[in-house]
């Protein structure tokens, strides 16, 4: 198989995201195996060399993210990933990437939805956030993978894809083709191999102090500019989706795969005459708070379903606090292996919880 991609293929999410990333121009990947992320690393290791790219099995997640930082600094479209546990180790470097303004796509092929705070609040230091897209299924993950490379380059920032075991392992017939998101500025900041002492070397430095011959803005001005950039992203890049929202007395908020399940249950409940709708944040950060406020304007009840102890609930409360009821109906539900969702992610229990909360 060469670099060309046949029109429709049966691919699991890891393979589909790999093809999509390659179609977007990704040519460097580094990672360390961890289920269910391992499939992505395996696919990248097989496919990237076929298109002239490089994939490295690092010795740890810390090494992987720093290798990817190096590739990104050289101007290559690069990516890394892990599960939430591995991303925990990467946090310092993610902060560095954000503060020294390097574009990198990071795939959290999470084991569940317990990494919402990690994704949206960050665990590094400094004033930064990470744009986080949470696809509801494999076809959307294919779209998001390409969009993320564009957003990373556009804003020169690390960005996250929040996947899960269902997205990683479900096979779907997908059409992967390169998408055009518009022009991007040239990467005139990228390191070009010119070394120190020549007077022409370039520098990527979190503290932005520059060189004696070409002083930089320094940390105060630089970090204020970075913070302002994230404020602009928060205004411009929030994305959301609604389903059956017209006339909904109850709006259920759910993200990722849980959003797909709630969408199905909402259709079932609507067929039975219940006035229920879905609001799904597509970007977890920026959280689409303004969209949520509009979507729940006429609702008397907002329910939050997520597979964790109530993390997105904080964001929902922030923007829908004045609705009659804001109630958490999700919970921690983990498969016996620890590597996937437990029984709560299923249509029947979600239906029961919505009905119980609306009774």
């Amino acid at each position: 198989m060469n670099g060309t991609v046949p029109a429709r293929q049966l691919l699991d999410g890891c393979a589909a995201i790999t093809e999509s990333a390659i179609a977007a121009g990704c040519r460097f990947f580094a990672g360390y195996p961890m289920s269910p992320f391992t499939g992505l690393l395996e696919n990248m290791s097989r496919r990237l060399p076929q298109v002239g790219g490089h994939c490295l099995n690092a010795e740890s997640e810390i090494e992987a993210v720093n290798m990817a930082l190096g590739a990104a600094a050289a101007g290559v479209r690069a990516a890394t990933g892990s599960c939430g546990q591995g991303l925990a180790l990467m946090q310092e470097t993610i902060a560095e990437l954000a503060l020294n303004e390097l574009p990198l796509v990071i795939v959290n092929m999470a084991r569940n939805q317990q990494d919402y705070f990690q994704a949206t609040r960050g665990g590094g230091w400094g004033d930064y956030r990470t744009i986080t897209l949470a696809p509801k299924d494999v076809p959307e993950a294919v779209e998001h993978a390409q969009l993320l490379f564009h957003l990373a380059d556009r804003y020169r920032a690390p960005v996250l894809l929040y996947g899960d075991p269902l997205i990683a392992q479900t096979h779907v017939s997908v059409d992967v083709a390169a998408r055009d998101f518009g022009q991007l500025p040239a990467k005139d900041w990228a390191l070009d191999g010119t070394s120190g002492g020549t007077g022409h070397s370039r520098q990527i430095w979190t503290w932005a102090m520059g060189k004696v011959s070409a002083p930089g803005p320094g940390p105060d001005r630089h970090w204020r500019a970075v913070a302002a950039k994230f404020e602009q992203i928060a205004r411009d890049e929030a994305r959301s989706e609604t389903h059956q929202i017209d006339g909904a007395e109850t709006v259920v908020v759910a993200f990722g795969s849980a959003g797909l399940f709630v969408e199905h249950v909402v259709d079932e409940l609507r067929a039975d005459g219940h006035r229920v709708g879905l609001f799904r944040p597509v970007t977890l950060w920026p959280f689409p708070g303004a969209d949520l406020a509009v979507a729940t304007r006429n609702a008397s009840r907002v329910l939050v379903f997520e597979l964790n102890a109530g993390q997105m609930l904080d964001d929902v409360r922030q923007f829908a606090h004045d609705r009659g009821v804001v109630r958490f109906i999700g919970g921690v539900s983990i498969h016996a292996s620890g590597l996937s969702f437990g029984p709560l992610l299923d249509a029947a229990p979600i239906r029961s919880r919505i009905l119980e909360a609306t009774a």
Binding site: R8, Q9, L10, D137, P139, L166, Q169, T170, H171, V172, S173, S257, L260, F261, H264, S337, L345, D346, A347, A348
Partner: protein, 180 residues
């Protein structure tokens, strides 16, 4: 929607290969497919099941099916998930060499003595392909030839010696339904 099927059995019966063959054959013939697998860590005998949805259009199906129109039961052990979600009056194709078709509730039960048919076809390891041939013929989802092509694509080179027997098993399964 063409069909939703949950294939259930135990590790070693070829459940995952059956499901992949079906989903790939559907994709190769221009349909859309979704395949979600669930299996235990055991080498043999653990729970193994797969859900396949085939449609003419792009799928947005739940990977954990709330309901299925069809079930292919290779073994009775661990079959509760599939049978509980089978819609009333749905199709249950049962490997009657192993599982008791009479134990299936409200369904259109088609008993296929797949192990016996596979032995008679000189394909004793391919009872799963007998069942797959029978199932697609009942549902008229994809042709047996398309299944054969998909199986050939999926079987790794070190298993290539089984391709001919698998093809005989697919034909024998289809034949068992057509002979009814």
């Amino acid at each position: 929607m063409r069909d939703e099927v949950i294939i259930t059995g135990i590790g070693g019966q070829g459940i995952q290969l059956m499901a992949k063959t079906l989903a790939l054959a559907a994709t190769r013939t221009g349909l859309h497919a979704m395949l979600a697998s669930d299996f235990g860590g055991e080498m043999r005998g653990g729970p193994s099941q797969a859900s396949v949805v085939v449609d003419d259009e792009q799928l947005r199906s739940l990977p954990i099916l709330p309901a299925a129109r069809s079930a292919v039961v290779m073994h009775h052990k661990h079959s509760a998930f599939a049978l509980d979600r089978l819609v009333p009056g749905g199709l249950a194709v049962v490997n009657s060499s192993v599982a008791d078709p009479a134990a299936i509730g409200d369904a259109e039960v088609v008993a296929i003595p797949a192990v016996d048919i596979a032995r008679a076809a000189d394909a004793p390891n391919a009872a799963g392909f007998v069942m797959l041939g029978a199932y697609v013929t009942l549902r008229q989802l994809v042709g047996v030839a398309a299944l054969g092509d998909a199986m050939r694509e999926l079987v790794p080179p070190y298993r290539a010696q089984h391709v001919a027997a698998n093809l005989r098993a697919l034909d024998a399964g289809a034949g068992a339904v057509l002979a009814e």
